[in-house]
């Protein structure tokens, strides 16, 4: 066999920052994770699906705030009980780590009462929607009503566009990604709505997320952003002040999101904005 272009090459370790550093916060400082879910995923046990274990991991990685909904919300019809348990789990977490985002299903009756309890009783800063699991579209009248009500209350609305790769879903649990096409029209009736799009990259008509971000009408998270230097690529399509750190933990390995910040060549300002600055602005402001 010919000795070739590889011959003589020595596979020596190259001098680079060690991975032990990568496992810590890439640029130091805190993180706000806007895309976390508590309780158990219906299809499998996840290594970090116990709240205490997840909290330990997030705290190790300098997460100071994790915006959390509940996997129980996907299939359980009694969202009142789901949100009660979510609120209790968040209260018992160390260092006020978990910030509860209750689940609301506008396709079901009495959703306004669920919303009132989230806001008034549990003091949640926002809610999370799962349109594909709950069986409605962003074009539905009830959805527009919900947006308007949340805008009036100053509540953050997170829409989870997907939760898993549709190619490998359980054959009896196939959920198409959310179609974002109606979203600009729906937002017209909810001026000032604080809208956060999670796992939006695989939504139908996903580019609408980027155009809404560019127009200052939505924030987008980065959990499903892929490709080499993916965050740099995202920042070429969405303004810096519209991108939020989101891990989709514990469904995804938290470290996958964290390392994306290291893989991309980001300025200190960009890192600060994505790590926590923009999330702080979502909570403070009524629009970007």
């Amino acid at each position: 066999m010919a000795r070739t272009a590889l011959a003589g090459a020595t596979f020596a370790a190259i001098s680079l920052p060690r991975l032990s550093e990568a496992k810590r916060a890439p640029a130091g400082g805190r993180l706000v994770d806007t895309n976390v879910t508590l309780m158990q995923w219906p299809m499998r046990r996840l290594p970090l699906d116990e709240s205490e274990v997840l909290a330990r991991t997030l705290l190790e990685h300098h997460v100071v705030e994790a915006w959390a909904c509940s996997f129980e919300a996907l299939l359980q019809p009694d969202l009142t009980a789901v949100n009660n348990r979510l609120a209790r789990a968040c209260k018992s977490a160390p260092r006020n780590l978990f910030i509860p985002f209750g689940a609301i299903n506008p396709a079901r009756t009495r959703w306004r009462e669920d919303l009132r309890r989230c806001a008034d009783e549990h003091k949640m800063p926002g809610i999370r929607l799962y349109p594909n699991y709950h069986g409605y579209t962003l074009n539905d009248a009830a959805c527009a009503d919900l947006f308007a009500e949340c805008a009036g209350r100053g509540l953050i609305v997170q829409i989870a566009a997907t939760l898993e790769d549709v190619r490998v879903q359980h054959p009896r649990m196939k959920c198409d990604p959310v179609d974002l096409k109606p979203l600009p029209g729906a937002l017209a009736h909810a001026p000032g709505l604080k809208l956060v799009l999670l796992n939006w990259n695989r939504a139908l008509n996903s580019k609408i997320a980027l155009s809404l971000a560019a127009e200052g009408k939505a924030w987008v998270d980065m959990a499903t952003q892929e490709g080499v230097a993916g965050i740099s690529n995202l920042l070429r399509q969405a303004p810096r002040n519209a991108v939020l750190f989101g891990s989709h933990a514990p469904f995804y390995y938290f470290e996958s999101a964290l390392l994306k910040l290291r893989e991309s060549e980001l300025t200190a300002d960009e890192l600060e904005a994505i790590r926590f600055g923009n999330a702080g602005n979502v909570k403070r402001t009524h629009s970007i």
Partner: protein, 261 residues
């Protein structure tokens, strides 16, 4: 801890030539301490490449290897629908060239007999065979293999070394299908960083049969590396997955080529 990425493509990064794209891939690999890249398939892909297209794509991979032989290895991309052309390409690129393994994608399902002469020749050359394998709930492409089909192929060739790319993607089934195939390793590349994948692979196959791969540039190095760094496995298992297993699997052919491992 060193890191070898066993599954990289010359895609998803800027550059008009293989050399330019290699530089771009390495620029970001450096940021995550990834020392070696194993690349296959060219600048533009095809499901069922003609012999001419195979040669073009493999020439581009050879260009990448020759551009950075200190950092980049390559596998030859073959098409079992063109067996004679594939055998010629195997000789040209592996026996007589710098490539060190075989990549098979979605041209033909891998349990079919057309693969046998390719696998036999690869084994003679000490080249591992990396087979794309997926389990899609809506159905695979006509020529797209499943882990169970790779298991069938591996049983016909017990002396050969196989790598199941993506662990079948629907990894809970894929890993189970490969449990009793000791000559098949899995690479963890090219799927969402779904938690539990690496733990299950280590528990069911043993850490020695799990390889780090990213599927960059379509995938992020980071999202895939996070699977290994975030997994609840031992330090020893992590080191095996990140580079030791790839070194071991490639050692026979690298030694033949005079490469210091």
């Amino acid at each position: 801890m060193t890191i070898w990425d066993i599954h990289v493509h010359l895609s998803g990064v800027p550059g008009k030539t293989a050399a330019e794209r290699t530089d771009a891939l390495l620029r970001y690999a450096d940021r995550l301490d990834i020392e070696r890249l194993c690349v296959f398939m060219g600048l533009n892909w095809s499901y069922d490449p003609t012999p001419e297209d195979m040669r073009r794509q493999n020439d581009e991979v050879i260009e990448a290897v020759r551009h950075r032989p200190d950092r980049v290895m390559g596998f030859v991309y073959l098409n079992p629908n063109h067996v004679e052309a594939s055998l010629s390409e195997l000789d040209r690129c592996v026996r007589d060239g710098p490539l060190v393994g075989v990549k098979l994608w979605v041209a033909r399902r891998c349990h079919e007999p057309e693969l046998d002469p390719i696998v036999r020749r690869a084994t003679e050359l000490r080249a591992p065979v990396l087979q794309h394998a997926y389990l899609k709930v809506a159905g695979n492409l006509p020529g797209e293999s499943t882990p169970a089909q790779l298991a069938a192929l591996s049983r016909r060739h017990p002396q050969s070394s196989f790598i199941c790319a993506h662990a079948g993607a629907e990894w809970e089934t894929g890993i189970r299908d490969l449990r009793d195939c000791p000559n098949v390793s899995v690479d963890i590349s090219g799927t969402d960083p779904t938690a539990g994948m690496v733990e299950m692979a280590v528990n069911e196959l043993g850490a020695k049969r799990v390889l780090f791969g990213s599927d960059a540039g379509g995938r992020s190095y980071a999202s895939q590396l996070g699977k290994v760094l975030g997994a609840r496995i031992s330090r020893e298992a992590r080191a095996m997955i990140l580079s030791e297993n790839a070194r071991r699997i490639l050692a026979p052919i690298l030694k033949l080529k005079g490469v210091n491992v």
